[in-house]
């Protein structure tokens, strides 16, 4: 054993490696992405027999991992919580079939949500699909828990969930990990044909349903003696308090920090929310009058306890989200948990034990990154108004140029712009204001078609990124072609999966195994489906891009524009642009229309932040006074910049 400073997600991958995992598949999604990336890194650093892939979407990833587990391998599939919706079809059936080798379904939940569409709770998905669920509270625990999860999975021949949340996935800690020679070596037996086992039929489903229900009752008992489900006793001087806390995941760590200061009361840490460890829960409830439930997302523990109290006729009051004592949405924080605990305990525990500063600074606030204004009011002088700082498209992002081209081309026309999931969702912000709808991965295509059916005089656009195109847009395109929709598909191809940190996909031509493979060409795919009007354009060449949109959108039926320009994070920047103050007429069109973070106003003059500018030249192309040029051009014309050819990437 040795210690490493690891991110929770890295610890999970290392834990899987220590458990002898043979195959890891997944689809990128915050906060889960680094698990698979770390697995690929471990492979390249010596775990040569491990197979790792970014699958095209979560459904495929789930099926790949299931196939491996059918063959006796230990497999792991990784995704974020909304990815599980995509993979839910194979998941629901897989539980009826079961597995031979251990299979861990790593689903990262995102309270807040910090970077997701929903605050859905995978613990509920676990109960719905009847799949056992493990809920780690720290990087260290996640490392150990995934190894145990593989064992439970094999022992009960079922896939199991490991469900960390954002603050577990993205926290770092010094974690004790095994040496590579201590890793388990798992040799898969191979697939053994048995149609009575692997082929789902109504009769088999009925029989297996009975077995699953019976097994989950046994698992509930088994989990009551699982060491990570644990009752922490009250301190000696708090033993008379007939109040207890139930918690799990990151909320458990917040509760422990608070109780460390004010003194321990009885606490039940639940690491397996499904099947719920009922016997241990009864032990915890023994002698208690009231219980506070501290958990993020849905009131899963609260409902389980309420059910148990009803079932066993216990008169214990259960406080939490259902009773409106705890916020029912958003992320918890150290301070919100402290407030909840202090309110719950009332006069039972004195504030005197609290650190002075902490008691003073414990406003009832949720974790909001923007405005802890109440907390600031503790200071004698109020601060100047703080600017809001939402995420924005990066300076030089080609998506900005694509949106601007479509906006310019379709000015004064009746349009709808259906967006999708990725960096380009940020195109909704002012001044671009180019995302009218956004629902889920690949949905823009269907939404555009539906709107078009009801409003035939509207020009319907669907925007989709390259990775999302492969993940879930294909069926939407086929539907449009087959049902003769009238719409324009705009593929924003930046040659990477940008939002989640630049993962490869079928269009990039390389895989997580380090292989260079034939690229899947988006244009060829579209033509193959039957989209005849497909044009490819460079969005950074504004004039050409605008005329491409005008030409294409005017055609009848399904047509597509492929805007190709690499993400600034995977390409080398050009020289920064500068504004010539003598030529600038201060109309501020560049700022008003583009909203590029590199364009700012300093001392009442438009200036370009050279540390951010990538030299994309978009601003210079729309400047009516031709006041924006590259530094080089300016020097070349010895201070008198009359060079109108600053536009485009013509100087390459």
């Amino acid at each position: 054993m040795h210690k490493e400073f690891l991110m929770g997600n890295e610890a999970i991958a290392l834990g899987a490696a220590a458990a002898g995992v043979n195959l890891v598949s997944g689809y990128p999604g915050t906060p889960s992405t680094e698990v698979l990336e770390t697995a690929a890194k471990l492979r390249s650093e010596g775990l040569e027999e491990l197979y790792v892939e970014w699958s095209v979407n979560e459904k495929t990833a789930m099926e790949v991992a299931a196939g491996a587990a059918y063959s006796g391998a230990r497999s792991m599939v990784t995704m974020k919580q909304v990815g599980l919706n995509v993979a839910s079809d194979p998941l629901m059936s897989l539980e009826y079939i079961g597995v031979k080798g251990g299979m861990v379904i790593l689903v990262a939940d995102d309270p807040g949500p910090v970077s997701s569409q929903t605050e859905q709770d995978t613990r509920h998905f676990a109960a719905f699909s009847k799949v056992p669920c493990f809920d780690p509270s720290s990087a260290q625990e996640a490392y150990e828990m995934i190894q145990e999860a593989f064992e439970y999975s094999e022992k009960y021949a079922t896939p199991v969930f490991l469900r960390p949340t954002t603050r577990v996935c993205h926290s770092y800690a010094s974690v004790s990990v095994k040496e590579p020679y201590e890793y388990l070596c798992h040799r898969p037996e191979g697939f053994v044909k048995d149609s009575g086992r692997w082929v789902i039929f109504p009769r088999l489903s009925y029989q297996n349903h009975i077995k699953i229900e019976e097994r989950n009752e046994r698992l509930s008992d088994d989990f009551s003696s699982y060491s990570r489900n644990r009752i922490y006793p009250a301190d000696k001087n708090n033993e008379q308090i007939k109040k207890g806390i139930i918690s799990g995941g990151i909320s458990f760590t917040y509760a422990m920090e608070t109780l460390k200061d004010i003194g321990m009361i009885r606490l039940f840490k639940v690491s397996t929310p499904f099947p719920f460890p009922e016997k241990l829960a009864l032990e915890f409830l023994e002698g208690l009058d009231e219980v506070l439930c501290l958990e993020e997302l849905d009131p899963v523990l609260e409902q389980a306890l309420t059910y148990i109290c009803g079932k066993h006729h216990l008169s214990v009051k259960i406080f939490g989200k259902l009773s409106h004592h705890v916020q029912n949405a958003g992320e918890s924080s150290r301070d919100s948990v402290t407030t909840d605990i202090l309110k719950f305990l009332g006069t039972d525990v004195s504030y005197a034990n609290m650190k002075e500063s902490q008691a003073e600074n414990t406003p009832n606030l949720t974790w909001a990154p923007d405005t802890p204004a109440d907390a600031l009011s503790a200071y004698p002088v109020l601060p100047p108004k703080l600017p809001v700082r939402p995420p924005v498209l990066c300076a030089g992002c080609p998506h900005r140029a694509s949106f601007y081209a479509v906006k310019t081309a379709m000015k004064n026309k009746k349009t709808i712009f259906c967006g999708d999931i990725g960096c380009y969702t940020l195109g909704n912000a002012m001044p671009l204001n180019m995302v009218d709808t956004c629902l889920c991965m690949g949905a823009g295509l269907g939404i555009a078609q539906g709107v078009g059916r009801i409003e035939p005089d509207t020009s319907c656009f669907a925007f989709v990124g390259d990775s999302t195109f492969f993940a879930s847009a294909l069926t939407g395109v086929i539907n449009a072609v087959y049902n003769q929709a009238d719409m324009t598909l705009v593929v924003l191809d930046n040659s990477t999966t940008a939002m989640t940190g630049h993962q490869p996909h079928p269009g990039t031509g390389h895989t997580m195994m380090g292989n260079i493979v034939e690229k899947v060409h988006i244009e060829a795919v579209l033509r193959g489906i039957g989209v005849t009007a497909v044009e490819t354009a460079d969005p950074l060449d504004l004039e050409a891009a605008v005329s491409c949109v005008k030409r294409t959108a005017a055609l009848p039926g399904v047509k597509a524009i492929l805007f190709k320009s690499p993400c600034i994070a995977v390409s080398k920047p050009d020289k920064s642009m500068i504004v010539d103050p003598e030529i600038c007429i201060d109309c501020r069109k560049c700022i008003r229309e583009l909203g590029c973070p590199a364009l700012t106003v300093q001392k009442d003059k438009v200036t370009i932040d050279s540390t951010l500018c990538t030299g994309c030249t978009l601003c210079s192309q729309l400047c009516p006074a031709h006041a924006i040029c590259s530094e080089e051009n300016r020097i070349d014309s010895s201070g008198k910049n009359k060079d109108k050819a600053a536009g485009g990437k013509t100087d390459e």
């Binding site: 603050r167 800690a173 500063s357 990066c394 939002m499 973070p597």
Partner: protein, 198 residues
């Protein structure tokens, strides 16, 4: 000894790396560490933070309001935003260079870093303003911002971590071609720490 540190600023400023260097330097000394930071959508030029905790008996990587010993602010306004985390008598290191949010530029609202800095000066006793604009110009790179602030934090005396400890971590964590640049930033801060202090 337990330490709570908050690093904050705007996505893309190198906060995560600075936090990692501090954490691994502490680990090298056998001190347990935990940290948590913003990853994902907010990284695109949004308001970001890193919480870093060192010491024994840690459960949570997150810090409670009023408990940070040190706040390292990469941007004046973002620093003001995170003041509630600072404990009484805690130290602040802040970069003088402000970053205008796109929303402010668009709406014509003037956002001035100087006002934020003067608010910090009026409100808080233990403040070090690092003239990062001048420093980056003198060094000839804007990429050293995080190391400049880290250096200033080392000289604040509230960490048990030395410049050499950080140099070791830079050697381990960064490609060799960036070593000298970052070392020169550390040296620059050491030489100027007298002047840049208020």
């Amino acid at each position: 000894m337990n330490k709570n540190i908050v690093l904050c600023g705007v996505g893309g400023q190198g906060i995560v790396l600075a936090s990692k260097l501090l954490a691994s330097a502490a680990m090298e000394k056998g001190i347990p560490v935990m940290s948590a930071e913003t990853i994902g959508m907010a990284q695109r030029g949004g308001s970001v933070f890193s919480h870093l905790r060192m010491g024994d008996d840690l459960y949570s990587p997150m810090i409670a309001y009023g408990t940070a010993d040190l706040l390292i602010g990469f941007e004046p306004g973002e620093t003001v935003r995170r003041i509630p985390y600072l404990k009484k008598g805690g130290k602040i290191i802040v970069s003088s260079r402000s970053i205008m949010p796109v929303t402010a530029a668009l709406s014509g609202v003037s956002y001035q870093g100087e006002r934020m800095i003067s608010y910090l000066k009026d409100t808080l006793a233990d403040l070090t303003v690092v003239d990062t604009e001048k420093a980056c110009r003198d060094i000839g790179s804007s990429k050293v911002l995080n190391i400049l602030l880290l250096g200033a934090a080392l000289h604040s005396g509230s960490l048990d971590i030395s410049e050499d400890d950080i140099k070791n971590e830079i050697r381990k964590k960064l490609p060799e071609k960036f070593h000298e640049l970052n070392f020169s930033a550390l040296e620059y801060v050491r030489k100027n720490s007298q002047q840049s202090s208020r």
